[in-house]
């Protein structure tokens, strides 16, 4: 009744090709951004900002990065954690060498280092596909983890072997380090994530995105219609790693505030991969849904029982939460194998004809 396009005439091609052709969708996006930018920082607790929203946005960004590669181009990668690590360590090295340059520039710049490494490890993708490629990217994971642990140059030879985040400012306000407030860090993350999501949305809806999808659906056919496979695949690796690299730098600099190399192990790669599988392959909003389900749901399950005065042992909560998450994943995959994004689409379709379905 409320959600339909009747009466909205498109008079230009641009309007017809828009990402959100429906006015209601545009309003919806504006409301979401308003909630994220105004309501949450003003009314949310420190816990909500620091332990829920910041990591959720960062993981969403990493999931978008992996989705560009796996969902849109069809190249399975298990090196996400390592590429995020490259971003974090690059940012750390850059800011120790050039402490006067603004940290946000280095966060973005570290994405390029990650992209270069991604291209390098993406080279085998021209010859191998599917599970074999996953194994090749797994090599990146192990090799880079080894570098972070065994090469003291990466962590500036410090005794703890971990990287620590110095205080850096933007317009005189600290945005990294312990003195930065939750809200400042949240805003920095939010702006970067929104900007990069917008960029990704333009990429996948344009020529490059179509090339990626053509390669994903049938690379032989794509080659025949004139898409150069090597370039397209390497571009996907580069862009994907760029996103992961920025996410990794944000993870350490704006969330953790310091990291051991163990943070970027293969478990992180799986964590992100599960997000996009649950959220929906080849969907940007799915990346957010996946990050919400895999990251936020366990937190909710952990803090819900005590809220209602149900006393439970901390370990029991942990076990129960594993069971519930596992069951939910199976449930969602049975109900909708194409992920939460598809569920969302179906819901919107039903809403269009509501309350008179035909």
């Amino acid at each position: 009744m409320f959600y339909r396009e009747a009466g909205q005439y498109k008079t230009t091609y641009a309007a017809d090709l828009a990402v959100f052709p429906l006015r209601q969708d545009r309003i919806g996006i504006a409301v979401i951004i308003f909630i994220a930018a105004v309501i949450i920082p003003y009314f949310g607790s420190g816990f909500l900002i620091q332990a829920v929203m910041i990591p959720f946005l960062i993981f969403s960004l990493a999931a978008i990065g992996l989705n560009l590669l796996t969902g849109y181009t069809g190249l399975l990668s298990l090196g996400t954690g390592a590429f995020m690590g490259v971003g974090a360590y690059a940012c750390y090295k850059l800011t120790t060498y050039f402490p006067d340059v603004n940290i946000i520039i280095w966060v973005i710049a570290s994405g390029f280092f990650s992209a270069a490494i991604g291209v390098l490890f993406g080279l085998p993708s021209l010859r191998i596909k599917g599970f074999y490629l996953a194994v090749a990217t797994l090599a990146a994971q192990f090799f880079l983890s080894w570098c972070f642990i065994r090469q003291p140059w990466f962590y500036n030879y410090n005794a703890s072997g971990a990287i620590e985040v110095p205080t850096r400012t933007l317009f005189g306000i600290p945005i990294t380090g312990a003195t930065a407030t939750d809200n400042t860090r949240y805003y920095v993350v939010l702006v970067i994530v929104i900007a990069m999501t917008w960029l990704a949305s333009n990429l996948v809806h344009g020529r490059i995105g179509r090339m990626w999808m053509a390669v994903r659906d049938m690379d032989l056919a794509a080659e025949l219609i004139g898409i150069r496979l090597l370039r397209t695949k390497l571009l996907a690796f580069a862009v994907s790693s760029f996103y992961c690299g920025v996410a990794g730098a944000l993870l350490v600099f704006l969330w953790y505030g310091g990291a051991e190399p163990a943070v970027f192990d293969v478990n992180l790669s799986f964590f992100i991969l599960f997000m996009i599988i649950i959220g929906g392959l080849g969907s940007l909003i799915g990346s957010y849904f996946g990050a919400a389900l895999i990251f936020i749901l366990p937190i909710v399950l952990r803090y819900l029982p005590p809220r209602f005065g149900i006393p439970v042992q901390s370990a029991t909560v942990e076990h129960v939460q594993f069971m519930i998450i596992g069951a939910l994943i199976v449930f969602f995959l049975i109900v909708e194998p194409n992920g939460l994004a598809r569920l969302w689409q179906v819901a919107k379709q039903k809403l269009r004809v509501w309350p008179f379905p035909y």
């Binding site: 607790s45 909500l48 620091q50 005794a159 909710v300």
Partner: protein, 439 residues
């Protein structure tokens, strides 16, 4: 449509759950315990947190808390995962905790910079960042009774004594089997410095975290090199594997020495008879033969107010948890004395820990005579560099294998000072200490 209704319901429940998440604690001193009863290191984490919780609960039952104020003990499960640790920290922060026990090197490193900002002291008992022993740079971090560097120096001192004098170490080979992570690598700089001073040769055998349970290649190298002494800086399932491998190649067990986190009952037990004679550094005694442990049994465990199975009370890591809580309790008691308040805050707790003195007389009062070495923390020295002893595995349980061994302080202290300085310069904007010292 029903499915969507359920989904919306779930989303609403989630939103309310999150918006309500932090709640303030009721009257009492709030002591959160970061636990890991699940995850890859649960084997070590469970007895530790059992000991910690049982001692504090015993104080509540026996004395009605400390200075008449009840302790509110709450566990937060970290599964030894940094992500969850940060989440736990955020969750407990709003309830005015007096002290945080992170119980993971990764989590400790993360919250060290936050301690000064949030005014919550960190007590990382003999783990975490060794450099944080320097109270001038780290006024909010405490790591008594000894650092990893103290531990490694005690090992060298013990080896030297057994060889018949430190001069006899010249030309000997000393091996370090370590977990290839920041925690495992910690003793390397100290051992390198000592190797130069005493003229022994240091051999390194890193064990990657992913290969903890498959150390055959490391032990093949050890068989080839035949080091005279081996120091084991391992954790979790790495320790029993190392002990088993050592037994397999017939390495003399009394020359294999683990650090204090390699001294769990489950670290030595799986190797069976082969592990007899295995030594591990330890700073708390084992067993239930102390009035304080008897009180725990009487007031907490026997009344079913504990998660600990009765036969596991008194195990090495359990008693270490008890010692950890003793330090917390003494810190609180001291803070009440220094500040003159009953209901103390994190800032008072910092002052209390900074003037902490636990001498023989006080240990006896606590029902723990001989349970641990006397401890002294000062404003400048947040560690104390206290003594430890060698615990010896007799095939069934840990026994006392040596007297108290003092660390080689004059080698450890300069290293701590220089690395603390390094830390504060690397972290631009590290605050200068402006907290006053209590005498």
């Amino acid at each position: 449509m029903r499915l969507y209704g359920a989904l919306i319901g779930a989303a609403v429940a989630a939103a309310t759950g999150l918006s309500l998440a932090p709640a303030s604690a009721a009257d009492g001193i709030y002591v959160p315990l970061f636990a890991y009863r699940t995850g890859p290191f649960a084997g070590s984490g469970t007895p530790i947190v059992n000991g910690m919780a049982d001692y504090l609960n015993m104080l509540n039952e026996r004395d009605g808390g400390i200075g008449g104020v009840k302790l509110i003990v709450e566990e937060c499960e970290t599964a030894y995962d940094t992500k969850k640790g940060v989440e736990c920290y955020e969750q407990v922060k709003s309830k005015n905790p007096v002290v945080i026990n992170p119980y993971s090197t990764g989590i400790t490193l993360q919250i060290i910079p936050k301690a000064a900002v949030d005014k919550i002291p960190i007590l990382s008992m003999a783990y975490g960042l060794s450099a944080s022993a320097d109270g001038t740079t780290f006024p909010w971090v405490f790591n008594p009774p000894a650092t990893y560097w103290d531990g490694a120096s005690m090992f060298v001192r013990y080896a030297g004594e057994k060889e018949g004098g430190m001069a006899k170490l010249k030309g000997k080979k000393i091996g370090l089997v370590y977990l290839d992570a920041p925690y495992g690598k910690e003793p390397i700089p100290l051992l390198e410095a000592l190797a130069k001073d005493y003229g022994f040769e240091l051999k390194l055998y890193p064990v990657p975290a992913a290969e903890m349970q498959n150390q055959s290649s490391q032990w093949l190298n050890i068989r080839r090199d035949r080091p005279d002494w081996i120091y084991l800086q391992g954790f979790g399932s790495m320790n029993p594997t190392a002990v088993k491998e050592a037994a397999k190649i017939n390495y003399p067990m009394d020359h294999l020495i683990g650090n204090w986190w390699a001294g769990g009952d489950d670290d030595a037990r799986p190797a069976g008879d082969g592990a007899k004679g295995y030594l591990s550094l330890d700073f708390n005694q084992v067993g239930t033969n102390f009035p304080v442990i008897q009180d725990i049994l009487k007031y907490v465990v026997d009344k079913g107010k504990s998660q600990t199975p009765k036969d596991r009370v008194g195990e090495n890591l359990y008693n270490r948890g008890v010692l950890n809580s003793m330090i917390i309790a003494e810190g609180i008691r001291n803070a009440q004395k220094v500040s003159g308040k009953k209901q103390i805050t994190g800032e008072d707790m910092r002052r209390g820990l900074e003037t902490l003195t636990v001498n023989e007389a006080r240990l006896k009062e606590m029902g723990a005579a001989g349970f641990a070495a006397p401890m002294k923390v000062t404003c400048k020295d947040h560690n104390g560099h206290n003594a430890a002893y060698m615990a010896k595995w007799d095939g069934k349980k840990w026994t006392k294998g040596s007297d108290w061994i003092q660390p080689i302080k004059d080698k450890v202290e300069p290293l701590i000072e220089s690395s603390a300085k390094e830390y504060s310069t690397a972290n631009a904007g590290w605050p200068k200490r402006d907290e006053k010292c209590d005498m």
